[in-house]
C-alpha cells in the first residue's frame, strides 16, 4: 500500500471528477471489489458535488482505516460553507435547497456502511463516511 491518506481540494466541477477518480483508485489498491469501488466513487462524487453546490469550496480526505479485523476506506468531506440548519430534513429523500434531486445525503448513506454528519449553521459541514472491505 503506497498511500495512506489523500486530500483533494474541492472548488470546481473538475475537482469532483478528480476526487472520485482518486477514491476509486485508492479503493481498488486496497482490494475493494470493482462494485464496491464504484459505490465509493459515486458517494465521493455526491459529497464533492454538495461542497461545490452549497459551500463553493472545501476538501475531501480519503483515508485507509483499520477496524478490529477489517480494513476500510474513510471519506471525509469538509467545508466552511453555510451549514445545514436541519440535518434530519437534509437526510430525507427528496429534500434539496439547490434545485438538485435532493438525493445526495440519504443516497450517500445507502452507498456506504457508516455515515456521520456534523453541521453548524454559518460555520460549515463535515460528512464522514466509511466502507469496510468485504
Amino acid at each position: 500500500m503506497s498511500v495512506g491518506e489523500i486530500q483533494v481540494a474541492i472548488k470546481s466541477d473538475q475537482d469532483i471528477v478528480s476526487a472520485r477518480q482518486k477514491g476509486r483508485l485508492m479503493a481498488s489498491e486496497m482490494g475493494f471489489s470493482s462494485g464496491d469501488a464504484t459505490l465509493i466513487a459515486t458517494a465521493i462524487s455526491e459529497l464533492a458535488r454538495n461542497i461545490v453546490s452549497y459551500a463553493h469550496k472545501g476538501q475531501i480526505t480519503l483515508k485507509m482505516v483499520n477496524g478490529t479485523n477489517r480494513q476500510g476506506i474513510s471519506v471525509i468531506a469538509t467545508d466552511n460553507g453555510p451549514g445545514i440548519p436541519d440535518i434530519r430534513q437534509a437526510l430525507r429523500d427528496g429534500f434539496s435547497t439547490s434545485g438538485s434531486l435532493g438525493l445526495g445525503l440519504p443516497g450517500v448513506r445507502r452507498l456506504m456502511d457508516e455515515f456521520e454528519i456534523t453541521s453548524q449553521p454559518g460555520r460549515g459541514t463535515t460528512v464522514a463516511v466509511k466502507k469496510w472491505r468485504q
Partner: protein, 120 residues
C-alpha cells in the same frame, strides 16, 4: 473533454467518456439538441459504456436530454450502463424513468429500427 457526436443516418450517437465534468455534460445537453435540429435526426443514442460513475447530476442531465429530444419529436436511447453503475444508481435512488435503455449500441440501434418500422 468534449463528447464526440457521430451521425449515422437519421440517428445521432453520442459516446460518453469516463471523466465527464458537469460543464461537459451541460455542453453536451445543448450540443445534442442543436444537432438533432440541424440534422433533423429521428433519434439519439447516448452510449455510456465508458462511464464508471453515474451520480445524481449525470443521471438528471441524461433525463433532461431525453425529454428535450422528445419535445423535438425524436427518441433517445441510453445504452451501455455497466452493471456496477446500475447497482450504484439504484442504491443512490436514481432512476431513468421514461427514458429508453438498451444493453449496448447494437441493441439500441435494433430497438430504434423496430420503432422506425412501426411508425412508418
Amino acid at each position: 473533454m468534449e463528447v464526440p457526436i457521430l451521425k449515422q443516418g437519421a440517428v445521432l450517437i453520442a459516446t460518453f467518456q469516463a471523466a465527464l465534468s458537469d460543464a461537459d455534460l451541460n455542453q453536451l445537453r445543448m450540443g445534442l439538441v442543436q444537432q438533432v435540429v440541424k440534422f433533423r435526426s429521428r433519434a439519439v443514442i447516448v452510449d455510456v459504456t465508458a462511464m464508471d460513475v453515474m451520480d445524481s447530476f449525470a443521471s438528471r442531465t441524461l433525463r433532461e436530454i431525453a425529454h428535450m429530444i422528445r419535445l423535438r419529436g425524436a427518441d433517445t436511447v441510453i445504452v451501455g450502463i455497466q452493471p456496477e453503475v446500475a447497482f450504484a444508481m439504484v442504491q443512490l435512488g436514481l432512476t431513468l424513468e421514461g427514458v429508453a435503455t438498451a444493453l449496448d449500441l447494437e441493441e439500441g440501434l435494433a430497438y430504434l429500427n423496430e420503432k422506425f418500422k412501426t411508425t412508418n
